[in-house]
Symmetry: D2
Subunit: 352 residues, 4 copies
């Protein structure tokens, strides 16, 4: 019963097999391996974007901040949700990589940026006033940090606001696949066709060892991206090991299968808790994460049973009333089993 | 016959096995995995440094620049050889990570910093003059970029110069193991006991998929290093996959065995060419790299036979006299076979 | 009738005289001029801080960001009011100079940071969690950007919160003198004794041509400050021209006299408008600035009469109902005359 | 007898008068003052460049590094002389402002970049190789740091090399006027027509209190420059005080007159020493600086007589043989008098 994060589980065996298969003989370094050529072609197909440039890096933060640095000059601001990963969980990497751009934090339910707040904030950012930073880029997170998934209409509306404000759009897709299967749309619909300019296409949280793709729909930024990646120390010499993971990820829709499984587990977990009066859902369960408040005594029972997960947004006092409601985050991954879910639900229901 | 670089070969099968074995069940993220605890303990043993702090990253550049950023303030300079990797091959990553420190380039035979030049350069860098950048750190490369290995006496002398100039020493050990087995000394002798403060302990060029350790003998910089690593987007969520590689690397002296094999291949290659009047060795062959000039017609024969390697320092004109001497770099790795060496030598000797 | 800013008026004639007097013969450069020695001694007296280090720069932004860069590492955050000058009016200079630190924006009436919000925000910033930026520094603005002056009790309370959170305090005193005479306290009471660690001591808005002092009560940061100042290109070769301005500023309490005059003009202006039902004061008038809403028709009359000032926070639509209330900012300086005030009030009252 | 630097003397009285005259009444801030409009027009005339954008800053370092940051991306290198001010005397400000670009140091007599060395260095900098930094900009210094003046032919040749290498040219003209009158050409001939793209047009060393202009012949970089200037904290609120100095500088060719005077004094000084067997001239005296070696006993006599100047490149041991030759730098400014020169020469000749 391990629900701390979708980065706590292992990589998929097919991924390890692919890596092992790729580990034979000599191969060109630094991204000129033949596997990468295949990955590039496949990604362009998937995104219906024959001109797009595709790059691999090993961490989600690297994908986000390298993309943002190409979209936002140092004297501008990135509009993002106040709980966005780039704000909360990257220790200032966006500021470091952009050369000191700002992040302008926006409110919104369930980790989704409120459209009116975005429009107002962009509107109030002057474009020709040297004293204030300018408009840089919009960064959306799909799945949001609170487990919700923007609808295509919501994405389109936010992108349209950015576009009418003259700025490009970045999509932090650390959980891209989970969002995609939740919406049941195509990758292009969720990105290029909605108005997104650059995508962090996550793999690590969905069954890879550590690979994320960056998709730049505008190839004119490709060389700058390459320079920034190298300079950020994110260009791998034995790049084949990144390529092979991504190739396996995309083959036979493994990525979609894993995301569907993770989402199904989260749904099963939500279904198991939904009707309990003791369980208070804080956000919709659109993908593979639940945010739910439970009485302290249920948490105690779960911990006694060996469950792992995080209180959210932080640890409560160690002691308190048994019926004190304490919120937690529960994340399912591709490897979460139905048995784990049922065991967890069983503990909760017994303690309820 | 592939001698382009020691990053063109595959990882060792034991490393892949270890990675596969580690890929089971749930594990804490971001370096708190139990495998890392074991790696840390083992590294401290190997370096005879119970206080040392150990960090893993995935690229050699990341190891170098994160270490340097902890040693050198933005308003100081890093003394390094004029062909050092940090100067020639990292696209300004040291400048980016240090916040704009300088690199002061020093001459010296075979990629080794000339001690008198270092002493003079440090001496001429004022410490209390606000207009000029100050003294930052010395960065040594062992094996050097020209295939030579500093003797312990040479290392001690350079470190002593740095110390008497008041600055710490970084060792770029992308080929640490190759140097170590060449010298036949202990890791501590080649680092801590010689006066080195921080080590980039390479694994990628010696049989790993992509892992380097940073060893900080002074643990007071550990938290700053962690901040810089995260902020540089080099902290892996599924850190176990780095840990497992390094654990396998250190187990049963695999790292030393692979380095010995690579060095032995280079020696065999050198021995095969040594007595040829057509072969002009440019640098000593102390580890796993050769720099040798050969007549154009021999290169033509090699290329026709399918050999891969780089002209050095750059490509010559496509056409020229048959006896024109053209320099090249030949790098052996753990996976280079004696058969490859012998085939290569055979082509050369046939064409000579 | 020019109320756009206290930087729109001229320097005081005594300042120009001093500059002219200093412009004779040769003098050591870069701050080693004898006038600076006198300024340093005088500032230490004024602040009752014999150990303090004093530096001169030419812009308020330079003073703020050089001080902040010495107090806050790149991986931390500066707590400031959401309308602070460092957030709104410096085009990202704090991010540039700190190497990419964040600014955490806090609410509060009249430009004053709400103490509870500060305490909560610091509390919620983890100190040992590598993913999130850490606690950097508190930056207070006195006079606030909304014309209010923190009481000594308020300052002490905010500094105490910072101190108990383990962080130093910076005071943006672009209008230091206006605040000081408003409070009627000593410089030490408003800074060192309240818990402030570094002060941007403004002169430009109060009768100088362009000089601000930075006061570092902790001299251990002095060399770092000097390095950052030089590296930021803010070390003046003909430093005597900064020194002379500051010397004249401090002589015979000229700085206090000018601030008292500016504040008195603002009070006279406020008194002239206070009883008008058409004038809606948005913030207290504690120093030399008024924020007041007036009907559009009164603005029209003022503009027709040649008054200069800014609508606040931005320009309204060019046309609208005559009784539409439009807010503006009115700033008085040392050179604002009673006649200007009375003329302005006259126009308003005539149009009311 | 004060020959330390041309920044040790006072500003010209006309400049102080202009500043005093400008110090009346209210004026728009931040460069929109009417005096700046006049300066801009006059500079465009002088440079025969109606499209050029003109900016004022207060230090030469600011002018240099803001210009370079607009010309050179972070992942490229600035080619400059190994004794260039940007390398030796700005404490890493170019690295800071460019976001970590490199400086590639070139040799050459008398502080002039050797053309062949430049061509070779640019040639060896790859443009499409991600591992190495790219070609950024050429920065020339006129007058050089060793007192020499590039001829127009030399300037054109170096600019042509830069252009054929695909990079723009910056001219550090801290002593622009001294070079111009030395060459007897027009400002356009020494810059735009020779191939220069951006000029640091110095005033501080030639009779101003502290003002330098940046001339960007390509106006497309103007907004970026403004952003960088503001963000670097170099945008003055009471900008009139910069404008007024520059206006006075350009009026009635004051700048040329002052430069002619300074150069004439240097020539007189050189003439006074030239025929002495004890005086060894190290560099040509093309403008207002001499580099000359003299026996220690003559230095002793000069110091006893109250002369101020710097040994060069650094202080010698305090004691030594009386006939030991010690090099020094002697700089004349607009305010250096013939009497000072003659007194200095008299001491030398008496001691010779």
């Amino acid at each position: 019963m391990w629900f701390t994060s979708d980065n706590a589980g292992p990589a998929h065996p097919s991924v390890l097999d692919a890596v092992t298969r790729a580990s034979t003989g000599y191969m060109s370094s630094y991204g000129s391996d033949p596997i990468m050529a295949d990955v590039r072609a496949r990604m362009r197909e998937i995104f219906e974007a024959p001109e797009a440039e595709i790059f691999l890096v090993a961490t989600g933060t690297a994908a986000n901040v390298l993309a943002l640095a190409c979209l936002c000059p140092p004297w501008a601001t990135v509009y993002c949700h106040e709980v966005a990963h780039i704000e909360e969980d990257e220790c200032g990497a966006p500021e470091f990589y952009t050369g000191g751009a700002k992040l302008s934090l926006l409110p919104g339910l369930d980790g989704k940026i409120d459209a009116a707040a975005l429009a107002a904030k962009i509107e109030s950012t002057p474009t020709d006033f040297v004293h204030h930073v300018g408009r840089g880029a919009l960064s959306l997170t799909q799945v949001t940090e609170r487990g919700a998934v923007y609808s295509l209409d919501e994405l389109r509306a936010l992108c349209a606001i950015a576009k009418s404000g003259g700025i490009p759009v970045h999509l932090d897709g650390a959980r891209f696949a989970n969002a995609l299967v939740s919406l049941g749309c195509s990758p292009a619909e969720m990105t290029l066709k909605a108005g997104v300019d650059a995508v962090s296409f996550g793999g690590t949280k969905n069954g890879l060892m550590g690979v994320e793709a960056v998709v730049l729909f505008d190839p004119s930024k490709a060389w700058e991206f390459e320079r920034r990646r190298k300079r950020g120390a994110h260009l791998f010499s034995k790049h084949r090991y990144l390529s092979a993971q991504m190739q396996a990820y995309l083959a036979d829709d493994l990525w979609l299968t894993m995301a569907r499984d993770a989402n199904a587990r989260a749904r099963r977990l939500a279904d198991g808790l939904r009707d309990l009066p003791e369980a208070d859902f804080l956000h919709p369960v659109d993908a593979n994460m639940l945010f739910v408040a439970l009485p302290r005594r249920i948490h105690d029972a779960l911990h006694a049973a060996g469950a792992h997960y995080y209180f959210w947004p932080g640890d409560p006092a160690p002691e308190g009333p048994a019926d004190e409601m304490l919120a937690c985050r529960l994340v399912c991954g591709w490897s979460t089993t139905e048995a784990e879910i049922d065991a967890f639900v069983g503990v909760v229901r017994d303690a309820a």
